[in-house]
């Protein structure tokens, strides 16, 4: 049984990592091909850092991800508080259903529906160009919002209402009581929502493809590159991203393990 388990796992990992390892391998190719290896060279990395196009796309992606995640985090946290506090069951249920729509709909439908909204609005306003940075930003905030709300809401449900009331009884104004008592309890949900929004925005291709023109993000740039024959410079870029993600995951895992050990420590002692 154990050997069987190990074999299943090994096969799955080979399958998952084969294209990624080949990508790293061919990023060091001295030739222009991504399938015939001629010799080791770092020239594609050099080319990558001298190409202003790619660097601009990288910068655009980061700007978009940071702004959309920030807006979605603020709006989403407020919305979660609103949904948590509201008395009307009907309103609560409606808001939760609407929140689920962008998560359940396939990306292409979300993208197409937003594109049609922008086309429609553009025609009403008589604009010749419907899509720009702002439409892209709106689209990203829209698909990020549910993830923030659904991360914050469970944390709110876990909080003790009487703590907030106690703070006010002891003389804290509501806003101060909120920041001193409620926020520390829900901050893990806010942070994980923000991180999720940021990474989803970084990685999104389909929705951006329908709601942007002119403002090129990295996934959009990769898409236009893969329409032609791809040179290994894209592989070089992807390899750098791969290593960066690996490092981030390792660091966050080590941190998590340490905090868990710290939390477990005093209990044992």
């Amino acid at each position: 049984m154990k050997t069987f388990n190990r074999t299943v796992m090994a096969v799955v990992y080979v399958f998952l990592y084969a294209p990624l390892l080949l990508m790293v391998f061919f990023s060091f190719n001295s030739a222009k091909s991504t399938s015939v290896f001629e010799g080791f060279s770092l020239k594609w990395y050099g080319e990558l850092f001298s190409s202003s196009d790619t660097l601009e796309a990288l910068r655009n992606t980061l700007i978009l991800a940071v702004t959309s995640a920030a807006i979605a985090t603020v709006l989403g946290t407020l919305a979660a508080l609103g949904i948590y506090r509201v008395r009307s069951k009907f309103f609560k249920q409606t808001m939760l259903t609407v929140t689920n729509v962008p998560m359940m709909n396939p990306d292409i439908v979300t993208g197409v529906s937003l594109m049609l909204l922008f086309v429609f609005a553009g025609r009403l306003l008589g604009a010749s160009e419907y899509l720009n940075f702002w439409t892209l930003l709106i689209a990203h905030v829209t698909f990020n919002l549910p993830y923030v709300i659904l991360n914050v809401l469970p944390k709110l449900n876990q909080t003790d209402k009487s703590l907030f009331e106690a703070a006010q009884d002891l003389g804290a104004p509501p806003l101060k009581a909120f920041f001193l008592v409620v926020v520390p309890q829900i901050i893990p949900g806010i942070i994980s929502g923000a991180i999720m929004a940021f990474t989803l925005s970084l990685d999104d291709f389909v929705i951006s493809y329908y709601t942007s023109s002119g403002f090129q993000t990295l996934p959009l740039k990769i898409y236009s590159m893969t329409k032609k024959i791809v040179k290994p410079d894209m592989y070089a870029l992807s390899s750098i991203m791969f290593v960066a993600v690996l490092a981030l995951l390792l660091i966050s895992n080590i941190f998590q393990m340490r905090t868990e050990r710290k939390q477990a420590g005093p209990k044992k002692g």
Binding site: N5, R6, V8, V12, Y13, F15, L16, A18, P19, L20, L22, M23, F26, T34, S35, L75, G76, L78, A79, G82, R85, V86, M95, V98, V101, P102, M104, N105, P106, D107, I108, V109, V112, S113, L114, M115, L116, L117, V119, F120, V141, T142, L145, P174, T199, F205, V206, Y210, L218, P219, I222, T226, V230, M234, S238, M241, F242, L249, L250, N253
Partner: protein, 295 residues
């Protein structure tokens, strides 16, 4: 005072989601039932019949891909949940890592591997193996008729098999994650109790592990099926432009032909189809969830 705070908290999101979630869906419906001039017309809806093949292919391929991912992910998740806590943590990271790479890059990399002069064909040449086709593929001989069969490279790209393969590859982690989560939470003493009460291996799985893991399986199925059925990049690259799925037809109407009405009609059908299948799945999940409690 309290009422006004609630309004202040709820209003921004309510307005935002009304304009950017609800209205766009209504506009999709409006576009589907109008023509380019904006007057009522059922032309786009009638034209959908011509795309029945694309719908059929999309549904068939993504169903096959979902079943394959389930067959791979289920034993994998089970085996993983039986390892030590440290191994589980490291392996979960390894499963999630490829998901952090952009889907476009991963798919393009496979395209390179499966290409005519790609790595797989190079490998097959060195070991002198020549599968003539890949899962119902057209024989490579059609493309290079002058070469003796033993020297012809196998054709992978442009076959249904390659597209399904791409779906399985890209969405496998989405199946592993939810199934692993329920398996890891499962109480091991239940299995022991079942065994003590005389249940044999297969029955432990059928009457205990399977019903308890059902919620994970259901969400895994949705998480793989929905992106598979609506994909256009995978079919574009691994289908080599020969296989048009429903996502490809939407993409073509919206981006190349600028026929927004037909694009909207196609999207509408795709959306309704997915909502209906999710509704059915959830009913199914509810009833089996109850069955899981009454072991």
């Amino acid at each position: 005072m309290k009422r006004s705070t609630n309004v202040f908290l709820n209003a921004p999101y309510a307005v935002w989601s009304a304009i950017f979630v609800v209205v766009p869906l209504l506009i999709v419906v409006v576009y589907a039932f109008t023509d380019a001039e904006g007057s009522f017309s059922t032309d786009s809806i009638v034209a959908l019949w011509e795309y029945r093949d694309n719908f059929q292919k999309s549904i068939l391929y993504s169903l096959v891909a979902t079943v394959i991912t389930l067959i791979i992910a289920y034993p994998f998740a089970y085996a993983l949940s039986k390892t030590s806590e440290k191994t589980q943590r490291i392996q979960m990271m390894l499963v999630m890592l490829p998901m952090w790479m952009n889907l476009l890059i991963r798919t393009y990399s496979w395209m390179n591997i499966l290409d005519h002069n790609g790595i797989l064909n190079q490998l097959l040449t060195t070991v002198n193996l020549r599968p003539a086709s890949f899962l119902g593929a057209a024989a490579a001989g059609d493309l290079l008729p002058s070469m003796p069969l033993a020297l012809k490279p196998a054709t992978f790209l442009g076959t249904p098999g390659a597209v399904i393969f791409g779906m399985v590859y890209n969405y496998l982690p989405y199946m592993i994650l939810p199934i692993y989560t329920v398996m890891a939470k499962m109480d091991g003493s239940l299995v022991e109790a079942a065994r003590d009460l005389g249940c044999n291996g297969f029955n432990v799985w059928r009457r205990l592990i399977l019903p308890l893991s059902m919620p994970g399986v259901i969400s895994g199925i949705t998480m793989v099926f929905v992106p598979s059925v609506s994909t256009f990049y995978i079919s574009q690259k691994l289908g080599n432009g020969k296989i048009m799925l429903i996502g490809d037809t939407i993409e073509r109407q919206m981006q190349t032909l600028n026929n927004y009405n037909l694009g909207a009609a196609l999207s509408l059908v795709l959306m309704v189809m997915i909502l209906v299948s999710m509704f059915i799945m959830n009913r199914f999940a509810d009833s089996s969830g109850e069955g899981g409690i009454v072991v």
